[in-house]
Symmetry: C2
Subunit: 378 residues, 2 copies
């Protein structure tokens, strides 16, 4: 009770957010139309109007995932919740899981698979490298796995993993391919059906120009079959796709109250991509990345990932000798209101991470960042 009487509401001032240019690994900047969508008054989670928005959102998600998968929905949590949804639903206790680890999010996949009782084997590459199909084949020959998990766009390293040949190898062994597309969906081709990805998940706060809070996921026929064949229930009730899909499907069975506003936002973010055109959106991401790379080269900075595997959505820049890695980031934030990020894990202190995703991927942001960097380290 004493807490309550001591409360002085005047100590809690109105939101006064600094106006940041967000060029880190996400959240990226939210498009003004998406912000407006967030401010839309709510309807109920079973309102006929909301059910209609759910259907349209699923169609738009299929468009960006490039899939016809029926089970394509936004998980009611961030990208990590979508990752956990993939793992929790595909892995039963004792199942062999092969995880390809070449960065922070591969490690996280392995950790989650262990927690859900998976018999986890990993193959490892230095952070910034990618895997070849023959490496995956060798590992599968050594320990046959039910599930193979790999990261398409490693947010911690800036490397893009080619998937076509790996998908063939995985399917030849009868395994299920789980792909992390958190930092690629919307910013570059993910080609779920073309490649044959069985489970693919992402997040809203990267190339989809939305705030964090939802984790889009798509589940193909092989994975749906595995879901039906499960022997024991998914440990997580909240992330159990067999229940969640009855809310998103024709049954409309109440499971949990959907985050209405976040779904409004996602609908608007996906509409923006449809209006721009998916290929045009990829092309914008690529064009802007190349402008950034040229500019960084002019500043004599070198990039961590070779060009052929470099993500257009996230660039890792080697911190030059004698430069204070976190000091530069602090100055960018304090003096220029620009956010970029440092490295994680093996790359901590060694790289900066610059994201050009969704509404952040604009010429003016690159010009600003390069100009500020030149003043600080040029």
């Amino acid at each position: 009770m004493s807490d309550r009487t001591q409360m002085d509401p005047s100590e809690y001032s109105d939101l006064a957010t600094p106006a940041r240019t967000l060029l880190g690994p996400g959240p990226s900047m939210v498009h003004p139309r998406v912000l407006r969508a967030m401010a839309t008054p709510l309807v109920g989670h079973l309102d006929p109007y909301f059910l209609q928005i759910m259907d349209r959102t699923q169609e738009l998600l299929r468009y960006v995932f490039e899939t016809k998968n029926q089970l394509t929905i936004p998980v009611s949590g961030t990208g990590s919740a979508a990752m956990e949804t993939a793992v929790a639903n595909m892995v039963e206790p004792g199942d062999r899981v092969l995880v390809c680890v070449n960065g922070y999010f591969g490690l996280r996949l392995a950790e989650m698979a262990k927690r859900y009782g998976g018999d986890v084997r990993t193959i490892i590459r230095p952070w910034g490298d990618v895997f070849t199909a023959s490496e995956v084949k060798e590992a599968l020959d050594a320990h046959a796995a039910k599930v193979v998990a790999i990261v398409h766009a490693e947010t911690s390293t800036g490397a893009e993993q080619p998937l076509d040949e790996i998908a063939k190898v995985v399917h030849a062994e009868g395994a299920i391919l789980v792909v992390d597309a958190v930092t690629s969906l919307g910013g570059m081709p993910v080609r779920v059906d073309d490649i044959g990805i069985d489970v693919c998940y992402s997040a809203t706060q990267k190339c989809l120009s939305c705030p964090p809070g939802l984790g889009p996921i798509t589940v193909g026929p092989r994975a749906e079959e595995a879901l039906r064949q499960r022997k024991i229930q998914v440990a997580s009730w909240y992330l159990d796709l067999s229940m969640v899909q009855r809310y998103w499907g024709p049954e409309r069975t109440y499971h949990h109250t959907a985050p209405i506003s976040a779904n409004y936002a996602l609908y608007e973010g996906l509409r923006l991509i449809a209006e721009e055109g998916l290929e045009a959106c990829w092309e914008r991401h690529r064009r802007n990345a190349e402008i950034l790379w040229s500019g960084l080269k002019e500043l004599k900075l070198s990039l961590h990932v070779p060009r052929e595997h470099r993500l257009v959505s996230l660039t890792t820049v080697r911190v030059p000798e004698g430069i204070d890695e976190s000091g530069v980031r602090r100055q960018l934030l304090e003096e220029y209101n620009i956010e970029i990020a440092g490295g994680l894990g093996e790359l901590k202190g060694k790289v900066w991470r610059i994201g050009l995703m969704g509404f952040s991927s604009r010429r003016e942001n690159i010009a600003l960042l390069l100009s500020a960097l030149e003043r600080l380290i040029g």
Copy 2:
């Protein structure tokens, strides 16, 4: 690829939400200041400004929970995710869990505890009843439990569970008390420290006037100790409090990207309660509930829960003989833009559920609903 070229963006029209008066069991109406907060441009999840908002939000959450618990945070998911956080962190495989079931959310607690390996025992009361401390004591005498879970405000029945004596019984047996306050927090006293609730969770879309998407939770010293004493890791990585608290605590260790906008909204919703004053906010909920109850009585409608255990936030009304339960709801929605809900489980088809929570708890909403109901069934 064919999907992509067939995409016609003009088929996806601008959001055009009907203007609903939300008087169901949640989401309730979002305060205009909270909607504005949702539209605030983002900063990063490790931005010094956001860290400050996180600290202030924790203080405000402690105020509404009436607790000094350090570990008081919003879970990055809906109320169901907060429920699962409580269960997943408190229950280890093989732990005996006693769940008091007198409605839908008690059933859900039991289901989650089973999924996390709990040895679940239930005591059962008809939907709308509440438990006595001696019933809980008897059950604990019969099967000593590590955790006792009970619902403070059963959203499916409209009953308020008294907790003071039950807390004493639970603690006398050395067990941990987990309480669901999804439909009470902010609308009536929850008194976490006074009662000695060990884990208490809620949701943002009920009495806090925010959209769904976050699940506030508070964890007391006994429960924190149980967390430290765990023998095996929490199966859910996303909801593992030992990791989440290192992001919300002084370490600020990255775990997952917090839903920035939803946290802005929660901060604003809590600020509104602090400005109104917590007691005044409870008093508004009570006063408006009584106006509703009188009005329903004038319409010759009877209430499912006796007055002494009736929730002020959610009222269950018995559907009179010969009245089409879902037809009335449909007419309310289509002709008056008012949302109320039907019953769940045992009460399906038998009751309407009327919520007066947060910004929905206003005189004008009650006048509108009573007037519309009179025209439809009077």
